[in-house]
Symmetry: C2
Subunit: 121 residues, 2 copies
């Protein structure tokens, strides 16, 4: 298991079920039973995912009478966003180069079309 | 091993050495030997990390004579940024509430100070 906070967050997010649980919690706190309902999964299997999310600080659980409620916690997600932000220029430069290449291609096509029209005259 | 692209990316990022490798590649393409130099790690151990990053599409490798060069690839990082962006309101609301609470606290302190001054007069 990873020991630093950011590694725990990334490891917890590396699973589609856990990401689906977070997506559900965005619309508000809910019970473990409600959370488990849309998944074709046993309650213990869902609880295991919740424990991973809780250990990474991505959710918090509270007990209310016999119910366990979960809510999403934004802190670790903000750390992921801050970390990723440092790399924004990498993909923006790449997309910028692709845009430039497509623009050049378009202009060449336009020139060719123009030359063809001139020859026909 | 995770099968969907986003899970592979998150799993690859869940390791401080792999994130340090990406941080190094931001300043430009370099050879595997150069990449390995700052790490107290064997070349095969570094190569293993590079394979995980390559499988997740976070780096690309090319062979030039006897050298293997690596460069960072922005695409999967953009997907992480896009995914995380959906949760921005979660941490911004929380920080907003904290700001409001601190503001209220400050105002109460100001009122108390004012009341003390009035009593002294």
């Amino acid at each position: 298991m990873p020991t630093d906070a950011l590694s725990s967050t990334f490891a917890a997010l590396a699973d589609p079920t856990r990401r689906a649980i977070l997506a559900r919690l965005v619309s508000g706190e809910c019970s473990v039973t409600e959370l488990a309902a849309p998944f074709d999964m046993s309650l213990p299997a869902v609880s295991k995912h919740l424990r991973v999310l809780e250990r990474a600080g991505l959710i918090a659980r509270r007990r209310d009478a016999q119910w366990r409620h979960c809510r999403i916690e934004g802190g670790p997600l903000k750390q992921v966003a801050d970390w990723t932000e440092r790399y924004r220029h990498v993909w923006e430069e790449r997309l910028g180069r692709l845009d430039y290449y497509l623009q050049q291609l378009k202009e060449k096509e336009k020139e060719k079309g123009h030359a063809r029209k001139q020859r026909r005259k």
